[in-house]
């Protein structure tokens, strides 16, 4: 019986007057890949960003409801979002490595969170993260080269390495492959499959095939509502809600 890592109940999100997320309840399991699918503007990215409080940076955004990680309310006033984001890593749609060297990119997170006591520790963290992100063999001889000099797929793996360097427990991925070619995409998907042994992964994706390939559980969002949430196999072979059926079959209405 897998345990629940993230528990969301009655979550509402408003952008000014726009009610973007309407009363979402979802339980995300540990060491599992959960996919969020849905048409554009349905709120899946917005909901994802609630999980690491990235929506705090947007002035007009209001979040209500109960979101708990390991049964701790992350919107509790005592919680520092900075600390939260060390525990909940994020990878973005467009690979955005810092314009620093590969080494510095990965080392930045551990440095500012004080996770390494000395240079040797830091070197070890960097190597482990790059290995986990399947980038070590390609990068080990040019750790000083700028991160922006890598190819698109490599850059995204660098961003993944950077995210896991702070030893998070949850990885949030917002359409990580949408800017990549099919081969790089396949490599990242393979990586996600390995990562799920150590982390809980939540991935927002536009590609239903990707959600079907990569995830164990899938949540379908539509116009701010969570329409259906269940085991991926069932969602794609015999979903319960007709809206889900329409969306995955490419039907209107």
């Amino acid at each position: 019986m897998t345990n629940i890592k993230i528990s969301a109940k009655g979550v509402q999100v408003y952008y000014g007057d726009n009610h973007a997320i309407k009363d979402v309840d979802v339980q995300i399991e540990d060491k599992t890949v959960t996919a969020f699918i849905g048409p554009s503007g349905c709120g899946k990215s917005t909901f994802l960003r609630c999980l690491n409080r990235m929506n705090d940076t947007i002035d007009i955004c209001r979040v209500q409801g109960d979101i708990r990680i390991d049964n701790e309310d992350i919107y509790d006033p005592a919680v520092d979002p900075v600390q939260l984001r060390a525990k909940v890593g994020m990878v973005f749609q467009k690979p955005n490595p810092f314009p620093k060297s590969i080494y510095d990119n990965v080392a930045y997170g551990p440095k500012i969170h004080g996770l390494a006591r000395n240079k040797a520790d830091l070197d070890e963290i960097v190597e482990k993260s790059l290995r986990k992100a399947a980038l070590w063999t390609e990068a080990k001889d040019r750790l000083g080269a700028p991160g922006t000099g890598l190819s698109g797929g490599q850059q995204q793996r660098l961003c993944i390495a950077r995210a896991i360097a702070t030893a998070p427990e949850i990885l949030l991925m917002d359409e990580p492959c949408s800017a990549l070619d099919p081969i790089a995409t396949a490599q990242i998907e393979e990586l996600i499959d390995e990562l799920r042994q150590s982390y809980s992964v939540v991935i927002v994706t536009h590609s239903m095939q990707q959600a079907a390939r990569v995830s164990q559980k899938t949540a379908f969002f539509h116009l701010g509502n969570l329409v259906e949430y269940g085991v991926t196999d069932k969602i794609f072979t015999n979903p319960e809600d007709p809206r889900t059926e329409s969306y995955i079959s490419g039907r209107i209405g």
């Binding site: 690491n52 990235m54 940076t57 002035d59 900075v82 600390q83 939260l84 984001r85 060390a86 890593g89 994020m90 990878v91 973005f92 467009k94 955005n96 490595p97 810092f98 314009p99 930045y108 997170g109 500012i112 969170h113 922006t148 961003c159 950077r162 995210a163 702070t166």
Partner: protein, 437 residues
């Protein structure tokens, strides 16, 4: 195959022809506009360089001078010290001229008048710096009179000498003889950059020394104040301030401040710094403060533009890894924005360097002969009276002696060279530190 709406591609249809003609005309307009601008620029440069280039060479009289210790003592104890030294110079000159038989037919007074009045002071400085020279004969380079200098530069001729009360045709003849002898030469005028300003009677001795120093002090003040304040204000407005009507008002006001005429800042400086805060008038400190106020909007606007140009993905990436807002700004955004900020600062400084109007109002237009010290006990930091490069130009153009026209143009050339160097530095720094992301 039915005829398509477009006809053959190999034949230009009338619509395309008209459009091409219009674009060609537009290109012509552009080129002619550039042409006009270029012509204006060329005329400007030619006239300035034409007038000013000659100021970089100055006529010097070179001949052996002797002085002994007793004469030095006598001169030092005299009331008018430079006058005594002048006498010694004149004695030595007479010896030289008679030895080389150059003086025939020319009165002695004329010969003496060929030397600049500044010579005595120059000689005195030389002796005081090098007391061992007493008792020896050494070659001394002394400035020639402004009119003699003008003769070698074409301003003064035998005809004008007849009407001019400061020079006689006989002096011109002697000048030619000395030139043939090799005693009267034109040298590169380093003194132009180091000498302080000189009075109307001695245009040959006038230099930019004080003005350059004054401008340098002011630039130091502007750099030390405007850069940190401007960058900090910008960062706060751009990264930390919540969007509200207050920040909107501030933004609008800053944009407007950049358009305010500079003379208004002069009045402001007068009212606040001189009348209210009672700082010293004509000091580089006040000038620097006024110019800081003027340059702040420029720096703030260019810093904001640099900060805005950083894509939000960098900030998101930093926040995502768990950096605080402050860390993301200082570790990531600022280093990336640095080239733009630097360029904006240097351009702001270059603008401040050339400002004249506000400085006139706070009194930096005075005639200053002593080099201002950076700090003194009674005047404070940058508190001694000074003048500035553009103000010096203004000053010299007001003087009656035509030699000052040459010097004013020379000062303009110097100013332009400084501005060129600063802009080149800005471009170089930008290229060196620009990073791609």
């Amino acid at each position: 195959m039915s005829a398509s709406k477009h006809g053959s591609l190999l034949q230009t249809d009338p619509h395309t022809k008209k459009r091409n003609a219009a674009e060609k005309r537009f290109r012509m307009y552009g080129l002619s506009a550039i042409g006009i601008a270029m012509i204006a620029l060329v005329i400007l440069l030619v006239s300035i360089i034409g007038n000013g280039a000659s100021s970089f060479r100055q006529t010097y009289l070179s001949f052996p001078v002797t002085i002994n210790a007793a004469e030095i003592e006598a001169a030092e104890s005299a009331l008018l010290k430079t006058g005594a030294y002048n006498k010694i110079i004149q004695t030595s000159l007479l010896i030289y001229l008679t030895e080389n038989d150059l003086l025939h037919g020319i009165p002695k007074t004329d010969a003496f008048a060929m030397i600049s009045d500044e010579a005595g002071a120059t000689f005195r400085r030389f002796i005081l710096a090098d007391p061992d020279a007493a008792g020896t004969t050494f070659q001394l380079n002394l400035l020639a009179n402004g009119r003699i200098d003008g003769y070698f530069k074409g301003r003064v001729t035998a005809q004008t000498a007849l009407l001019d009360q400061n020079v006689t045709p006989a002096q011109l003849v002697l000048a030619d003889r000395l030139a043939d002898q090799g005693a009267l030469v034109k040298r590169f005028n380093w003194a132009f950059f180091t000498n302080p300003d000189a009075s109307d009677q001695r245009p040959e001795a006038a230099g930019l020394g004080v003005a350059i120093l004054g401008s340098l002090y002011m630039m130091a003040v502007v750099l030390c104040l405007a850069l940190p304040i401007g960058v900090a204000a910008s960062i706060y407005l751009e990264e930390f301030a919540r969007k509200s009507w207050i920040t909107d008002v501030i933004e609008v006001n800053i944009a407007n401040l950049a358009a305010v005429p500079s003379i208004v800042y002069g009045i402001l400086g007068l009212a606040i710094f001189i009348n209210f805060a009672e700082l010293n008038q004509s000091s580089p400190m006040v000038g620097g403060l006024v110019l800081t106020l003027m340059t702040l909007p420029t720096i703030i606007i260019s810093t904001r533009a640099s900060l805005k140009s950083i894509p939000p993905s960098i900030r998101d990436a930093a926040l995502g890894v768990g950096a605080s807002k402050m860390q993301s700004v200082f570790h990531h955004v600022l280093p990336l924005a640095a080239p733009g900020i630097l360029t904006g600062t240097i351009i702001g400084l270059a603008q401040a360097l050339g400002e004249t109007a506000p400085l006139l109002l706070i009194g930096m237009v005075a005639f200053v002969k002593e080099y201002p010290a950076a700090w003194s006990p009674d005047a404070g930091l940058f508190g001694e009276a000074s003048t500035a490069l553009p103000v010096q130009v203004f000053n010299w153009t007001q003087r009656s002696d035509p030699a000052f026209v040459e010097r004013a143009s020379g000062a303009i050339i110097t100013l332009l060279i400084f501005l060129l160097i600063m802009n080149a530095l800005a471009i170089f720094l930008r290229k060196k530190f620009e990073r791609r992301w």
